[in-house]
């Protein structure tokens, strides 16, 4: 009988002694990633060089566009005087609060809408109408109802980020392979366990993509909201700098915004990869 038993090694799978080479592989992977990433650097340098040269050569008025190095110098001063960091922290706080709320509402709502056909039918028209109404168009209403304080800004960010998270959660739930649900049911999993142990993990990769898109929108909306009615935050800082004709400061603010967006994007790409650890890797990464 024993000759019929399959020896796992024969199936082409190695045993667990590959752990060490795993670390080496990971290191090689990181290096490969950096190499891929650095391919994009020369173009960024060209961009900065143009920025430096155009005002320097007098092709653009340096009052409208200060040189790159002047901007960096201002950015450096602003950063180390602590002025800018305060504004960045305020903006981040608002964005995170609004974004967090949209996750708290969007994910459970999406799970229900995706799983219960009838519930989706009931809610769909309202959701679609709200989703297709521009967040920016609604800003005056939020300000009118909630005033100039924190709550109106957080509400706007929440509204802006909600839809991507909701839609991606719904489509994630809908694309869960029905065989997982059948298997779970056959094992006698309760309705609650079905959500927590099957539907949520199966649609998690899609939810994380939604969260990434939602986070981008949250960052965009927070700046816009701060430009309309705020006394602090990066949006206020940029707007204020423009009003007072502090043009290098304005550019420094915008540059900060870009760096912030870049960091958050890579953070979320990393999170996305972690969320799909069980899928195995097919080729390279996309971000």
């Amino acid at each position: 009988m024993s000759k019929d038993l399959v020896v796992p090694e024969k199936l082409g799978l190695k045993d667990r002694s590959v752990d060490m080479s795993g670390y080496i592989q990971r290191f090689a992977h990181l290096f490969e990633g950096l190499k891929n990433w650095s391919i994009g650097l020369p173009l960024v340098f060209v961009f900065f060089a143009l920025w430096e040269l155009l005002p320097r050569l007098g092709l653009v008025d340096s009052l409208i566009l200060p040189t790159f190095f002047d901007t960096i110098r201002v950015l450096y001063d602003l950063t180390f005087s602590g002025k800018l960091i305060l504004h960045v922290l305020v903006s981040l706080q608002r964005a995170i609060a609004g974004f967090g709320l949209s996750v708290l509402v969007g994910v459970p709502l999406g799970l229900l809408m995706g799983h219960y056909r009838q519930f989706e039918k009931i809610t769909d028209i309202l959701v679609q109408s709200l989703r297709n109404t521009s967040t920016f168009a609604l800003m005056p209403i939020f300000l009118l109802v909630l005033g100039l304080g924190e709550s109106s800004k957080i509400a706007i960010i929440f509204y802006g980020a909600l839809w991507q998270i909701l839609m991606n959660t719904i489509s994630g739930v809908k694309s869960v392979d029905p065989i997982y649900i059948k298997a779970a049911r056959s094992m006698g999993l309760s309705e609650k366990d079905l959500f927590v142990k099957v539907i949520l993990p199966a649609s998690f990769p899609s939810i994380v993509i939604g969260a990434r898109l939602g986070a981008k929108i949250a960052l965009m909306v927070v700046i816009a909201a701060e430009m309309i009615g705020a006394k602090s935050g990066l949006g206020f800082f940029i707007q204020n700098a423009q009003y007072n004709f502090m043009i290098p400061e304005m550019y420094a603010g915008i540059l900060t915004m870009s760096i912030l967006g870049l960091i958050i994007n890579y953070l979320l790409v990393w999170l996305e990869k972690r969320a799909t650890y069980w899928k195995g890797e097919i080729g390279g990464s996309i971000h």
């Binding site: 038993l5 199936l11 059948k182 298997a183 094992m187 366990d193």
Partner: protein, 278 residues
């Protein structure tokens, strides 16, 4: 003693909006998968269902598991009508249906979690089952890291973890290559012969049916009902050698004779159905 009694089962499915089917000249938007289906399954036996595609074999498994209910008629399990899925049945699917975000060990634990078994006990049971299938070294692997045969072993282990009275297997080895299939059949029979679990096994392969079964039930072309139940008189414990015996060939021939006319009928139906949609 009979553990499962299916009495006069009828199961109809509604087609999707706009879809129609023609049966004996009558156009309908419903398909009758089972009709007048009667079957008694003995406690502890290995019963294999064979029949043409679309004859409702898998539908019957769903009814026994409680995943769906008959349009009319009753399925009794241990004398009680089946109403909802329970730990009395375990289900193994052709597509393995392992949860890809869980390791092999954690997949096997899944049914035990639903039963509320404590963590230590869950792990102990799951490890025991994985070692039974020769997978002890793979308990921390995710499904994508396992071959098809290994995934199906994990899936069978998962179904057995809750010690079900009845194990339902829906073409479990159909997606595997011929060699792996034979190895898994041998493993299954070895493990099953050491238990008192009743198995209902669906397959298209007559060889598989004869090698595994105590009895083979022939299901007719749609709507499915039991045409014949054939006793397989091969000795147990069975090993791979039995496949090349003359008794195996004669049993195989018996099953094929009973099945042949149904397969032909099903072919004609599908041609008719195609002619209708064209």
């Amino acid at each position: 003693m009979d553990i499962i009694v299916a009495e006069n089962i009828r199961k109809k499915f509604k087609l999707k909006n706009g879809q129609k089917v023609k049966n004996n000249g009558v156009v309908s938007d419903e398909v009758e998968a089972l009709s007048g289906f009667n079957l008694k399954i003995r406690k502890g036996e290995f019963l294999v269902l064979v029949g043409p595609s679309g004859s409702g074999k898998s539908v019957f498994l769903d009814l026994v598991s409680g995943l769906s209910s008959p349009t009319s008629g009753v399925v009794y399990l241990d004398g009680k009508p089946v109403q909802a899925p329970s730990a009395k049945t375990g289900y193994v699917f052709q597509q393995y249906a392992l949860f890809p975000w869980r390791t092999a060990l954690s997949n096997v634990e899944c049914g035990l979690e639903a039963k509320g078994v404590a963590k230590d006990e869950r792990v102990r049971i799951a490890r025991e089952l994985l070692s039974l299938f020769g997978l002890s070294d793979f308990e921390d692997r995710f499904p994508y890291q396992l071959s098809g045969g290994m995934q199906q072993r994990v899936s069978i282990a998962r179904a057995l973890a809750t010690k079900p009275e009845v194990l339902l297997m829906d073409e479990p080895f159909a997606a595997l290559d011929a060699q792996t299939r034979e190895i898994l059949q041998n493993e299954l029979i070895r493990i099953w012969e050491g238990t008192d679990t009743t198995v209902i096994f669906v397959t298209h392969s007559i060889d598989e049916a004869v090698f595994l079964a105590d009895r083979v039930a022939i299901v007719t072309a749609r709507p499915g009902r039991i045409k014949d139940v054939i006793d397989i008189d091969l000795p147990r414990p069975r090993t791979g050698e039995v496949r090349s015996s003359s008794e195996f060939a004669s049993n195989r021939h018996k099953v094929w004779l009973a099945l042949k006319s149904e397969v032909t009928k099903a072919e004609q139906y599908s041609k008719l159905a195609k002619g209708f949609t064209d």
